[in-house]
């Protein structure tokens, strides 16, 4: 794969959820080390699209290539390619007293995918885990249970999980959901820092259009089909937003924006 080749290439992708097409004929590419936002109203198919890209949902049609390797019909990818992908979900299903510490969890991200003794002591893994915790400001959390963390702490620990080994593609599914404005801002700053340092190519599902406008290189506007795409100023123009979300919705213009009904 050459340096100019896209990290992710999607061609004519359709995804079915039950009887209906949740995503229809979507095509786009992610250039190396760019930050792309996927925006659209609830039910637009954003999570279905992300799930299909990761090989978690079958495709109705279309092709997906990640780092030059075609995603198989059942989501198959070479292990070496899978190891280059990090995914940051909205939340974790943490029951009370979940018996897993932050250090253990982050360490789980270090080994290659597949069966492994990732819970056994290993100097390289421990070193990488400590470094990842330090880089995400989580060094004091190493021995805390995951279930004891606040929402903001948990998001940073998830970023530590992603940064514990070198990766190329980071996919975030509304990772800032549930965070208050300052925590969301800090998370985004940390994400940007790590992206620059790591050379990540980022695809993030977001409802925070102001953050998208400030931070992202490219925006994909989805409402089952790709309604528009391009640089934020182009894709998030009032006319485009009205087309995507309806005429009564405009983005906030102050610091920690989202979208809101208007009038």
């Amino acid at each position: 794969m050459t340096d100019n080749a896209p990290v992710l290439s999607v061609d004519g992708l359709s995804v079915r959820r039950g009887e209906q097409l949740a995503v229809e004929q979507v095509s786009f590419q992610l250039a190396r080390e760019t930050d792309t936002a996927l925006v659209g109203p609830n039910g637009a198919g954003k999570s279905s699209l992300v799930a299909a890209l990761l090989g978690l949902l079958p495709r109705a049609s279309g092709n997906v290539e990640i780092l030059g390797h075609a995603l198989g019909p059942a989501g198959e990818l070479p292990r070496s390619v899978r190891a280059q992908i990090a995914y940051l979900p909205q939340s974790l299903a943490l029951q009370g007293r979940f018996p897993l510490t932050v250090g253990e969890f982050v360490g789980f991200g270090f080994d290659q995918p597949g069966l492994s003794l990732a819970w056994l002591g290993n100097k390289r893994r421990t070193k990488a885990m400590l470094r990842a915790l330090e880089r995400t400001g989580c060094q004091d959390l190493e021995d805390r249970r995951l279930s004891e963390l606040s929402g903001g702490q948990l998001k940073r620990v998830l970023l530590a999980f992603c940064v514990v080994r070198p990766r190329q593609l980071l996919v975030l599914d509304e990772a800032q959901a549930g965070l208050d404005a300052p925590s969301s801002e800090q998370f985004q700053e940390l994400l940007l820092d790590l992206r620059r340092q790591e050379g990540w190519t980022v695809l993030q599902v977001s409802h925070d259009l102001e953050m998208v406008r400030r931070s992202c290189d490219q925006v994909l506007c989805l409402n089952r089909r790709l309604r528009c795409s391009g640089a934020p100023d182009h894709a998030l123009s009032p006319a485009r937003l009205a087309e995507l979300y309806g005429p009564n919705v405009v983005p906030y213009r102050h610091n920690h924006a989202g979208i809101a009904g208007h009038g």
Binding site: R82, Y87, P99, E104, F108, W119, S150, G151, S183
Partner: protein
């Protein structure tokens, strides 16, 4: 009570332990208890504890089928449990109904058929209590071999797939993106759990089988912060309590299954006490967590 205590003396204990059938029973209890605790530590986290309960109750149908067909019920039980587990898994996946409601339907119906079937077999009416509450004294060397092989297999699989199991529990998409085959691991785990339940029924009976899976795991969770220690603590509690329960059963001539479960419950209470006293895993740890949550979430140190 004085009579009961009089029975519990050293000579009585030595005499009981010296019996070959009791040695087999103790070893069987230790192994099945450890197996139940080990599998239970994962089953409870993956919210499959009710599955083991339903499977245990439904196993009575497998046993009664064996009796009706004139085949050794133990030989029928393991394939029956595996087929039952696979069918329920498919039913849950395809029906879209809540798993607990479906399991309830399946196990009550199986139980009803089993009781009807057993009532048709005159010779087996007397043995129903052994099926319900366990009869580990009847355990054979071949049973022990099966349990030991199963324990080794479970240890190997869970050791290699621990990370996958944990990630699947936390977020199936996170696990899938990491290359974990969610369906494959769920299927393997359910089959393993079904087999463990099937072999443990001899020790504890169909009514109390879920205790073997749930109680040690909950006790282990109370005292462990680290996942490998949690699995180890659950297996140790399961095996240790089964051993003590069987000794108590032998000394007092009470049914083995209920004795084991009572000792497991005492073990759980002990774990609860330890967790409340320990600053690392009990009250103080919870207080620390509450304090950290109450800090302003905007501060980077606090999250």
């Amino acid at each position: 009570m004085p009579g009961l205590l009089a029975m519990v003396d050293a000579a009585g204990l030595l005499e009981i332990v010296g019996q070959p059938f009791m040695q087999r029973a103790l070893l069987g209890g230790l192994l099945t208890g450890a197996l139940g605790g080990l599998l239970g530590s994962f089953a409870v986290l993956r919210q499959l504890s009710f599955f083991s309960d339903a499977l245990g109750h439904s196993a009575l149908l497998g046993i009664s089928l064996g009796i009706l067909l004139g085949v050794n019920p133990t030989l029928v039980l393991i394939p029956f449990a595996v087929v039952f587990a696979l069918l329920v898994n498919q039913l849950v996946a395809r029906s879209g109904l809540p798993a607990d409601a479906l399991l309830n339907i399946v196990y009550s119906t199986s139980l009803a058929f089993a009781v009807v079937a057993l009532s048709l077999v005159e010779a087996y009416r007397g043995g129903i209590q052994q099926l319900l509450f366990g009869d580990i004294l009847g355990i054979s060397w071949s049973d022990l071999t099966v349990i030991a092989v199963l324990l080794l297999g479970a240890l190997l699989y869970l050791a290699l797939s621990l990370r996958a199991q944990v990630l699947l529990t936390l977020n199936s998409d996170l696990a899938g993106a990491f290359g974990v085959g969610a369906n494959r691991h769920r299927l393997i785990f359910i089959v393993l759990l079904a087999v463990v339940v099937a072999v443990s029924i001899k020790a504890v009976g169909v009514l109390l089988i879920s205790a073997f899976v749930v109680i040690p795991a909950c006790g282990g969770r109370l005292v462990s912060r680290h996942f490998p220690l949690y699995a180890l603590a659950s297996a140790t509690l399961g095996g240790g309590c089964a051993l003590l329960g069987l000794l108590g059963s032998g000394l007092t001539n009470l049914p083995s299954g209920p004795c084991v479960v009572i000792v497991q419950f005492l073990g759980f209470l002990a774990a609860l006490l330890v967790s409340q006293l320990s600053p690392r895993s009990g009250v103080l740890a919870s207080a620390t967590a509450v304090a950290s949550r109450s800090k302003p979430s905007g501060a980077r140190e606090a999250g």
